[in-house]
C-alpha cells in the first residue's frame, strides 16, 4: 500500500442471511484501492451491491470476509474504536433531510462535530464553514430545520456530515428528487468542496450525466462484483457493456461515439456538453466552407 491510497479493500464480501434460505451474496470479493483526493463515481443497478459496499467502508456493516484498510489500517482491528472510522469516512444517506432533528439548523450541523468531542466554539466554526460549502445562507442557520424547503434541508443534512471534516465523504444519490437547477448547484458545490479541501469524495448516482461531469474515475458494480474501475472516460467508452448491466452513458457521450463511428475525428470519451462543443464547432464550421 502506498501513501496515496486512502482506502484499500481486499477480497471484501458480504452475505446476508447466512445459513438461511434467503442467503444472498450482496458483495462478492471486491478488491480495489481508492486514491487520496480522488472523486470516485459509483454506478450500478438497484441491488448491485453499491449500498452494502459503501456501508462497509465506514464500518456500518461488518464484512463477512475480507478487509478494509483506511489509511493503511484495518478498520476492524479494534472493533471498539469503529466509531472513529465513521468520523473519518462521512456518509450522507439517500434523502438525508429526514434525519434532521435539532431545534435549529446550526445545532443540527454541530451535532457531528460535538460528538467528535470538539468544543462548542470549534464545532460552531466547523458548522459555519460547512454551511458555506453547501450554500446555506447565514440567515437560515437559526431557523428550525422544519421551516426549510426540501433542497435547503438536504443541504443542511450534507453540511452536518461535512462539518465532521471527514477524510472521505460518501454521498448516496445526493441530488435525487431535486429540480434540474438544484441538482446542478448541489453537484457544483460538492465538486468545489472536493477541490478546495482536496478530500476524497465517493458519489453514488443513477445519473450518468452527473457522474460524467464530476468523477475522475468510476466504479461499476454488477451483481455484487466489481465490474469496472477505470477513468470516467474509459468507463463511458464501453456503452454496450454498461447497457448489458442495466446502465447507460451520458447523452452527449452517446452522440459523440456515433459521430466518431461516422468518421468524424471526435473524442469518444467526451463527457460534457462544453467539451463536445469545443470539438464540434471548428469541425462543422470547416464543413460549411467547403
Amino acid at each position: 500500500m502506498t501513501e496515496s491510497n486512502v482506502i484499500e479493500t481486499k477480497n471484501l464480501s458480504f452475505t446476508y442471511g447466512i445459513g438461511t434460505p434467503f442467503e444472498k451474496h450482496a458483495v462478492k470479493d471486491v478488491s480495489l484501492t481508492i486514491k487520496q483526493g480522488e472523486f470516485l463515481g459509483i454506478i450500478g443497478h438497484t441491488g448491485s451491491g453499491k449500498s452494502t459496499f459503501i456501508q462497509m467502508l465506514n464500518g456500518l456493516i461488518k464484512p463477512t470476509s475480507g478487509t478494509i484498510l483506511l489509511n493503511g489500517k484495518d478498520i476492524w482491528a479494534e472493533p471498539k474504536k469503529i466509531r472513529n472510522v465513521r468520523f473519518k469516512v462521512g456518509m450522507v444517506f439517500q434523502y438525508p433531510e429526514y434525519q434532521l432533528f435539532e431545534e435549529t439548523v446550526i445545532k443540527d450541523i454541530c451535532f457531528g462535530p460535538m460528538n467528535q468531542g470538539l468544543s462548542e466554539a470549534d464545532a460552531l466554526k466547523r458548522a459555519k464553514e460547512a454551511a458555506f460549502f453547501v450554500g446555506l445562507p447565514e440567515n437560515l442557520l437559526e431557523k428550525s430545520p422544519f421551516e426549510l424547503s426540501g433542497g435547503e434541508k438536504r443541504r443542511a443534512a450534507i453540511a452536518g456530515v461535512i462539518a465532521m471534516d471527514p477524510d472521505v465523504l460518501i454521498l448516496d444519490e445526493p441530488t435525487a428528487g431535486l429540480d434540474p437547477m438544484g441538482r446542478d448547484l448541489l453537484l457544483t458545490q460538492i465538486y468545489n468542496y472536493h477541490k478546495e479541501r482536496k478530500n476524497t469524495v465517493l458519489l453514488v448516482s443513477h445519473s450518468m450525466e452527473d457522474i460524467g461531469r464530476v468523477a475522475d474515475r468510476v466504479l461499476v458494480m454488477n451483481k455484487g462484483e466489481k465490474a469496472m474501475l477505470e477513468s470516467t472516460r474509459d468507463v463511458f467508452s464501453k456503452g454496450y457493456e454498461l447497457r448489458d448491466m442495466g446502465l447507460k452513458i451520458p447523452q452527449v457521450t452517446h452522440i459523440m461515439q456515433k459521430l466518431k463511428l461516422m468518421g468524424l475525428p471526435v473524442d469518444e470519451g467526451t463527457l460534457r456538453v462544453e467539451d463536445a462543443l469545443r470539438q464540434l464547432i471548428p469541425l462543422l464550421k470547416k464543413g460549411e466552407q467547403k
Partner: protein, 279 residues
C-alpha cells in the same frame, strides 16, 4: 368538455395561520381524455399539490376543478373522483401494502367491493399490462425499484381508473428501472387510452409526452408540444429547469452560428441532424 378542467385554482397550506403558504395562485388548465401530459416545474412550484388536487385528496380553496364533469370540491363526488384518477408516488416502498404482488394489486378493487371473480380478472389484466404477470406470486420487497413501481401502477389500473397521475415515479430508480416505467406509461396511454399526467424532473422523460405544461410559482408558465417548449432553452433555464443534453448541444451550436435546422429531443435525432448538416 375536457376530462380535467381547472379554473383559477388557488390552494394555501395552513390557510389563515401564521405559517400559511400559498402553493397554487390562480391556475387554469385543461387535460383531455387520452392525453399524455408532462408537468414540469422547480421544487416548490406547486406540482405535487396539484397532483393531490386532481384525485381529490386536497380540495380547492377557491376556483374549481372538475374531473370527468365531477366537481372535486363537492364531498359527495370524492369517492367517484378517486376512482377516476389514481396517484402513483415517488417512493415505491411506501406504496405497496401486501406480502404478495397479486394481493397488493387486489387491494384497490377489494376496497371498491368488486366481486372476487372480477377482482381475479382485473388483477391478471393489470399485471399483464405492466409486464409483471410472471411475478404475481412474488414478494414485493424482493423486486427491483422499477418492478415495484410497475406493481404500484398495476394497483391503480386494477381500479379501472381513467387517468393516472405519477408524481416523480422514477426519481429513485436506476436507468433500466426508469426505462421500464416509461415504457409502461406509454403503453398504457397508447394501447389502453389511459390519460397520463407525469410529474418529473427528468427532461428526457418529458420529451416523450404529447404535451408539456411548465409550472412556476403556483401558476402555468408555458405549455405546448415538447419540441416547442424545449426550443425555449433560455426560458426553461431561467425557471430552474433544463433541457436534455442532445437539445442543449444543438441549441449551443446554433448560438455559435451552426444551425442544424431543428430541435432534437433525443440522441438519435441529434445525430441525424448533425449527419444531415455535414452532407
Amino acid at each position: 368538455m375536457s376530462f380535467i378542467e381547472v379554473r383559477d385554482l388557488k390552494y394555501t397550506y395552513n390557510a389563515g395561520e401564521e405559517d400559511a403558504h400559498e402553493a397554487l395562485k390562480g391556475l387554469s388548465m385543461d387535460i383531455e381524455e387520452g392525453e399524455f401530459v408532462a408537468l414540469l416545474g422547480h421544487n416548490g412550484c406547486g406540482k405535487s399539490t396539484l397532483a393531490k388536487i386532481f384525485n381529490g385528496m386536497y380540495v380547492p380553496l377557491s376556483g374549481s376543478v372538475k374531473v370527468d364533469g365531477l366537481d372535486t370540491s363537492d364531498e359527495k363526488n370524492q369517492i367517484q373522483v378517486r376512482r377516476k384518477v389514481g396517484l402513483v408516488q415517488q417512493n415505491p416502498d411506501n406504496q405497496l401494502v401486501a406480502g404478495i404482488v397479486e394481493e397488493d394489486v387486489a387491494f384497490g378493487p377489494e376496497n371498491l367491493g368488486i366481486p372476487p371473480l372480477e377482482i381475479r380478472e382485473r388483477v391478471d389484466e393489470a399485471l399483464k399490462a405492466v409486464n409483471m404477470y410472471e411475478y404475481r406470486e412474488h414478494a414485493p420487497f424482493k423486486l427491483s425499484g422499477g418492478q415495484k413501481q410497475r406493481v404500484a401502477i398495476a394497483g391503480v389500473i386494477a381500479m379501472r381508473t381513467k387517468c393516472i397521475v405519477l408524481d416523480e415515479p422514477t426519481a429513485m430508480l436506476d436507468p433500466r428501472g426508469r426505462e421500464e416505467v416509461m415504457e409502461t406509461i406509454k403503453k398504457l396511454n397508447r394501447e389502453h387510452g389511459i390519460t397520463i399526467i407525469l410529474i418529473t424532473h427528468y427532461m428526457d422523460e418529458a420529451v416523450q409526452s404529447g404535451r408539456v405544461i411548465v409550472m412556476d410559482d403556483g401558476k402555468v408558465l408555458t405549455e405546448g408540444n415538447p419540441r416547442d417548449v424545449f426550443s425555449n432553452v433560455e426560458l426553461l433555464k431561467r425557471h430552474k429547469l433544463d433541457v436534455p443534453q442532445a437539445t442543449e448541444l444543438a441549441y449551443k451550436l446554433k448560438n455559435a452560428g451552426i444551425d442544424l435546422g431543428g430541435v432534437p429531443m433525443n440522441t438519435l435525432e441529434c445525430i441525424k441532424l448533425i449527419e444531415d448538416y455535414i452532407k
